[in-house]
């Protein structure tokens, strides 16, 4: 469904050029949920933005459902959509929920807008009462539900999730993760989930790639993660660090550059 080959993303020009992603390749099968894990600066979000088409300054090959991402095909919006990290920044402050959800349908001239907006709201667990509210009348979790509904308006096959719960409280995170799992099953979605949180990835994904400094350190299935049996030292340290504070462990932390 998704194929990424030798992806290199460079920011800046000439001497200031920085390679944020230095040759990343992976495949995601149809219906699979794939996690991209790493610390800040690992390049995980950069991969997602290149794959979504938001960033066009990259080399290598990337395709979704057989369509070359570099060609900005008009069919791509119907194939893949994205959910962003910060629900406070991803909704237009002057657009009602109704308008945010109608927009993709209007762009592509799809009919039956009203019924589809109501259905989409119901899908993400929001009643019709929310339809004509502005974002500032919604909580963070409700906003993220609207953002998910918006991403699903065009009935895409692929959902790209960029830290979808890291800006939310833990109790709200659980609701959103449950919602994403349910939608994935109902709509047979293929997902790529970018997160720094190993537990979230373990909960949501079938397979994952660990990234550090623009490279994939290792790929594994979620069972390996659950057994806490990764191959690479970097991943083992990440795993240890995410299990809570331990003075002895903290003293042994090393930096992987």
């Amino acid at each position: 469904m998704i194929s990424v080959r030798d992806l290199v993303v460079t920011f800046g020009h000439g001497r200031d050029a920085v390679q944020a992603v230095r040759g990343v390749s992976f495949e995601v099968a149809e219906g699979e949920s794939f996690g991209l894990v790493g610390e800040s600066g690992s390049g995980k979000s950069t991969v997602l933005r290149a794959l979504s088409g938001l960033n066009r300054s990259w080399t290598g090959r990337a395709s979704i459902g057989g369509l070359d991402v570099a060609k900005a095909d008009r069919r791509l919006p119907h194939l893949a959509q994205m959910v962003f990290q910060d629900p406070y920044a991803s909704l237009h402050p002057r657009h009602t929920v109704d308008r945010a959800l109608s927009e993709p349908l209007e762009i592509h001239g799809t009919g039956d807008v009203s019924a589809r907006v109501e259905a989409a709201l119901a899908d993400v667990g929001l009643g019709p009462a929310f339809r004509f509210r502005y974002p500032n009348q919604l909580s963070g979790g409700q906003r993220q539900r609207v953002a998910i509904a918006r991403a699903l308006m065009l009935r895409p096959k692929v959902l790209l999730l960029d830290e979808p719960t890291s800006a939310l409280d833990v109790s709200v995170q659980a609701e959103i993760l449950n919602l994403l799992r349910r939608l994935r099953a109902q709509q047979r979605l293929t997902m790529i989930l970018v997160s720094h949180n190993l537990a979230v990835v373990a909960h949501m994904c079938d397979r994952l790639a660990v990234m550090n400094r623009g490279l994939v350190v290792e790929e594994m299935d979620v069972a390996t993660l659950r057994r806490e049996a990764p191959r690479e030292a970097y991943t083992r340290q990440l795993l240890l660090a995410s299990k809570g504070y331990d003075r002895a462990v903290a003293g042994r932390m090393v930096s992987f550059d």
């Binding site: 537990a199 660090a241 504070y245 003293g251």
Partner: protein
């Protein structure tokens, strides 16, 4: 042991067009030379509690308490001068975002040195030496180089460590850390926590660690207060947090995904109105 900090019936409220909003409603605790964690979700009043102790609330906030005392000094009646003397020198506050706390037109090293000089009363040369030592203590490689950088030249993680260095260099007796490591990668987070840990253990500093991360607080602190809607709903030893009895705490713990479990559905929290008063 006399408590370093005593807080009794602390209340913070804001006036709004729809009537007063009570953000903190009667929080009481005593802090010794220990690591006290305050956990809660956004809006629980945990950050305001930390700021109220520093008497650093927005002008629109109203503060009241039956007792608010630091090392015998009543913070409620203290003069602005006394408060200024305490802040920075004996009580420090580390905030989540270093961007707003560092002076953008001053080299970071000089800011740390200045903090050492003003609050520690040491000479300029000693202040510089202390600043460099503190940068090294927060695991910054090449402190001499970092000393000369401006805030915009350092990364978020390094900025946060610089902030912590600046707050620790006057060797405060009480450090209030509001989500000090949320912006940091887990590995750096562990290293920064180790520094705080050592300061509490070696120097007998008191630490209030405010965080939304239950696992982290449980593994790092000695004692935990769980806040909900402006009240402390549960208090217990950090290592017993898993045995929490309040339904809110239990709900929060259960709603966290874990690496080693394969629950299909995470239990979600249904908020009981009774918790507001319980």
């Amino acid at each position: 042991m006399t408590a370093l900090l005593e807080v009794e019936d602390l209340r913070v409220s804001f006036r709004t067009p729809t009537g007063p909003f009570h953000a903190v409603r009667g929080v009481s605790f005593a802090l010794g030379r220990e690591r006290l964690g305050i956990v809660g979700e956004s809006g629980s009043g945990k950050s305001l509690t930390g700021r109220a102790i520093m008497r650093l609330l927005p002008a629109s906030a109203q503060l009241s308490a039956r007792r608010l005392a630091f090392d015998g000094t009543d913070l409620l009646t203290a003069s602005p001068r006394t408060l200024r003397g305490l802040r920075g020198a004996r009580i420090s506050l580390v905030m989540q975002d270093p961007k707003y706390s560092l002076n953008p037109v001053m080299r970071v090293g000089e800011q740390i040195a200045e903090a050492a000089r003003i609050h520690g009363g040491v000479s300029a040369r000693d202040a510089r030496r202390k600043a460099l030592a503190m940068l090294e203590a927060v695991r910054i490689r090449d402190p001499e180089r970092v000393y000369r950088l401006y805030p915009h030249e350092v990364s978020g993680g390094m900025g946060q460590r610089i902030m912590i260095a600046m707050m620790l260099v006057p060797e405060p007796d009480l450090l209030i850390a509001d989500e000090p490591t949320s912006a940091l990668d887990v590995t750096v987070q562990m290293q920064v926590l180790a520094i705080l840990d050592d300061l509490v253990a070696q120097r007998g500093m008191g630490l209030i660690f405010i965080s939304h991360d239950l696992d982290l607080v449980a593994s790092f602190c000695d004692r935990v207060l769980v806040m909900y809607a402006g009240r402390v709903v549960e208090e217990r030893a950090a290592r017993d947090l898993a045995a929490a009895t309040h339904p809110y705490t239990r709900g929060l713990l259960q709603s966290l995904p874990r690496i080693d479990d394969d629950r299909a559905e995470l239990p979600t929290l249904s908020r009981d109105p009774a918790w507001l008063e319980g």
